[in-house]
Subunit: 334 residues, 4 copies
């Protein structure tokens, strides 16, 4: 941690702050410039509250050198983490295809889609039972019944299932759910993250609409700080001023996360673009960029889907995407 | 609601969609252009799922004419709402001064600040007991003990208190809290909003970092849909690329909200700028723009505050802000 | 064009506006709802000033159905445009590799890089002679001398050259430059665009830092309206709140542009990320997403480059990227 | 300037870099941490290319301590600059009211508006002769004729005039224009800025749609570096995801600029919001925040304005705004 002092700081003030930093157990290195003095704080700088330090009258800026995340950092875990999910996995060389509808609507619908996407290459079935909707008047999901239908589809097809949680009190209902998704709007619902950190469930953590990559990794750190290391990260588009797409897929987040963290990172091109016809090219781009998987919305009747219809693919279109992704993966691994 | 059909739509397809819209109880008005046909849907268009409609092959775009929020809308409640809080109120001609520290730290601290800000014009005491922090390693607040200290300060000074909730399970602890704050990161924690909608507590709902005004009003609608109409909205800065300020205060949100909604709207210049020296000018701007109040961070020792220190004012600085705000209010009400 | 009238509009006002619209030669279709009347304007709606219409007291909103760009639109030119550049081309099935330094620095430097990148697969040589720099005190390029050195390198290697123009008065100096680049900061320098529209030079038009895809296509339309159809579009990252990358590569812009326009679109992963180690994965993603080429910064001594050094690749790294891109292209074209 | 070295840097590499920094005439202070070494560069660090330095293999980050702008900085010019414009001025305690139409349309229009706004408190007349429009098919202004009409209105009323330039070649036409405006889209048209820096004309420099305050000040520095110190800055809204307003007025930019620079800063609430009914509250907020003036669009027939109609005020509405602003100014100066 580096503290740049203001040019107006007196000798006495500088001595005082140095003494104070040393008093909390840190070493200080001092660099005096013509105009300013710079202090380098050495040791476990988490002992220092950065806000307190930068709030001091004589301090101009404070820069933290080490990343604020620790367990999620590749520095502390150089190898890729591979997260086991039932008899498949995510991370390392395994590419995950999570496919399924935005919302579970009926037994017939979810089992039909599950069979179709499995035959076409899906490795997991996704489906929403609890739906976060901007309006209280929109369809909120089948809830407990939706989870039961997903479990039926899992029984039928063997596909592990992924479904979103919105309330830690619902955890008992998710006992047999293989991957618990935390949606973009809950990425900084720290109380929920803490509760999930106390479980051993695999968590799919989606990036918030306006959150930085650092904040995403800090939210993963919340879960890991509780003892749960089974985390898959997901880039799903950020909010910008562009309107032709619902959000803007931040494809470089894949490269950045792979560098900074050992956790696997997948891409959701369906929510990122909000437009079915752009899903394939974005899935291919995700594979080429090094993502560990994609999450794709698939519906047997996209035009009639109860939510997010316009972005859903048909099973046949999903099959085409999966084929294309495999070709790209083969190409980049040669 | 207006649906613009694609130029490729056949007569048969157009007849089919019209029949379908009528089958859900809506009227349809048809406007045929040289290239495109436009359908106007009349009646309670909430019967129509906009996503489903815009997902149909022959539909190019769908535009909703009426706002999606209803109880929060000024169209349904033309007069300003005035929210009673203990023996004071927020909204209409009453300007609220909520002041206090980011975090409650000790009995001495909170009572000292409460006395100071009351003497200088505060109408409510704010203080955080549960703190949402980006990092799991940062100070998370005194929690239940913090709430008790706030209640002590209330007893001492008579000031109603405002404090943030992060988990609906904590509601019993907030029984004597006058105003329950929902922070920016929980603005779309719909499960929390629903629970608060089932209470009669006054809710201070802060705008999310990248949420639109429409989404803020939809989140208010979540609370109101449950039967709780005691809502105060708060603009606290949005995330942009500017870095000299922590966030960017969207001052025009005050004007927009006052036009669209009857709910009172206040401004938090402390979190919006993150810089103490900009708080006064932004508080004055908020008053001039028509805000119903300001929420200002005040600490008896800003440089030593356990969180967000650099943006806190001293009590004396708060008094100066309050004086300035009153002068502006007098000026614009003449 | 659709105009939604306010519910307060009187019959007389509605008749007046209809009469006025018809007076400029348009047809009007009228749809009366319970609350509102909607007018569909049919014919050449460019006769109507949208701002004027939406500014009328009785008009609530105005929506334009057809895209505002015409010559750049795929509707008017269904086939991909292929832009000839010397004896190579950009667009259709031809993938362009533009490579070279941010700034031309010396004869030795530019010729050395040109030879290297040609041997490794580059189809064009890029190099800056006039440099737009945020600070007036930063290196501004070798200017005319830089263009001469580029022409020398072209003579040596046969590679067509790409260089940025900042001032229409400099056009005579660009006579032998094969592709004239308009940088992000000049994307809406309409005077420059108009001048370039009067030439027949091939223009590489880069998207502005905060410009929408629609605005990029409108800027292309400025050039085309003058009679010059030789345009290559370039996505180079937009400004967001993310800080790990200099900008955020909007990879879905490639898919959107390919759908809306017939013009070729390339990607500049060097400026989009600002970080050399992310360039390869982003170039691969661009190829997978359907881009018609990439523009990559290459320097023989990146650490000593006079501008933008940290994002430049060595020639060997460029060769590795080119190889990877070809593998992806083969994979997606199978 | 501070350079943090990577933990992998060898002793030899550290010695080499120190030697190199000293070779360009700077002093180096060295601070060795447990993991990293930090170098403080002392002296005129403009001799160092920051990109070059941060591009070196062993350098992790580079932080510049001093602001990159110099002549625009308050550190170099502690007193407020007051810019003389004809017989009025902008800056210090003088509050400027620039009012007039988006576009000059006719002699009758501009003279009528000029008379009206002068009577109601305007201190300058603004009017567009050259109009930057997103579409080449939209009205582009009356050009030279528009400037002549403005000069007529100046002659009639004595009001100094403000008008936008888009092309340095047009400078001779602006000889009698009192204030030359550089629009948001040209804020980083560095060639134009340099030409304006060679004149002594007063320049009104508007902030770009997605430019930071630092970039705005750097663009002012471009003009000042050429010898022209007559600059007025203008905040006119930045691009965000919010859609109820055309742009988002960054009101805190006023406070930030007043702290960092001695140059006067005004606010344009008309373009910032794009909505006439929000102009008054935003003008009042600007005054309360400490702006040195406002620029307000006024039209005698807003519904029929040739551009930007919906945001224009009538003269009477402008008078009401001016009265309100004066009341706020009196209040904050007491």
């Amino acid at each position: 941690m580096i503290a740049v002092l203001k040019s107006t700081a007196t000798e006495q003030q500088i001595e005082n702050i140095i003494e104070w930093i040393r008093s909390v157990g840190l070493d200080v290195h001092i660099s005096r410039g013509h105009y300013q003095t710079v202090l380098g704080l050495i040791g476990d700088t988490r002992k220092i509250d950065e806000d307190l330090l930068s709030g001091l009258d004589i301090v101009e800026t404070v820069t933290r050198i080490s990343e604020p995340f620790k367990q999620a950092s590749r520095k502390f875990h150089p190898e890729d983490s591979v997260i086991e999910v039932a008899d498949t996995s995510v991370g390392g060389d395994v590419f995950a295809f999570m496919a399924g509808p935005c919302s579970v609507e009926s037994e017939e619908q979810i089992i039909s889609i599950a069979r179709d996407v499995k035959a076409l290459g899906a490795t997991m079935l996704r489906g929403g039972a609890f739906k976060p909707r901007t309006s209280p008047y929109d369809f909120q999901g089948l809830k407990a019944e939706g989870l039961e239908l997903l479990l039926l589809a899992k029984k039928e097809t063997g596909l592990p299932i992924v479904s979103e949680i919105m309330n830690a009190n619902h955890l008992p209902m998710f006992e047999d759910v293989d991957v618990i998704q935390v949606g973009a709007r809950n990425m900084q619902n720290f109380e929920l993250l803490k509760e999930l950190g106390r479980t051993k469930k695999t968590i799919l953590l989606k990036r918030g609409l306006a959150n930085t990559i650092k904040e995403l990794l800090m939210s993963a750190e919340y879960i890991m700080a509780g003892g749960n290391e089974n985390i898959i990260l997901c880039e799903r588009g950020i909010r910008t001023f562009e309107t032709y797409t619902r959000n803007t897929l931040d494809i470089s987040a894949v490269s950045v996360i792979r560098e900074l963290s050992h956790l696997p990172v997948i891409v959701d091109p369906s929510h990122a673009t909000g437009v079915a016809k752009y899903v394939k090219s974005m899935a291919l781009a995700a594979a080429a960029a090094g993502a560990h998987g994609v999450m794709i919305e698939v519906h047997n009747d996209p035009a009639r889907a109860l939510c997010d219809g316009p972005q859903a693919l048909t099973p046949a279109q999903f099959g085409d995407v999966a084929k294309g992704v495999h070709a790209v993966l083969d190409a980049i691994r040669e």
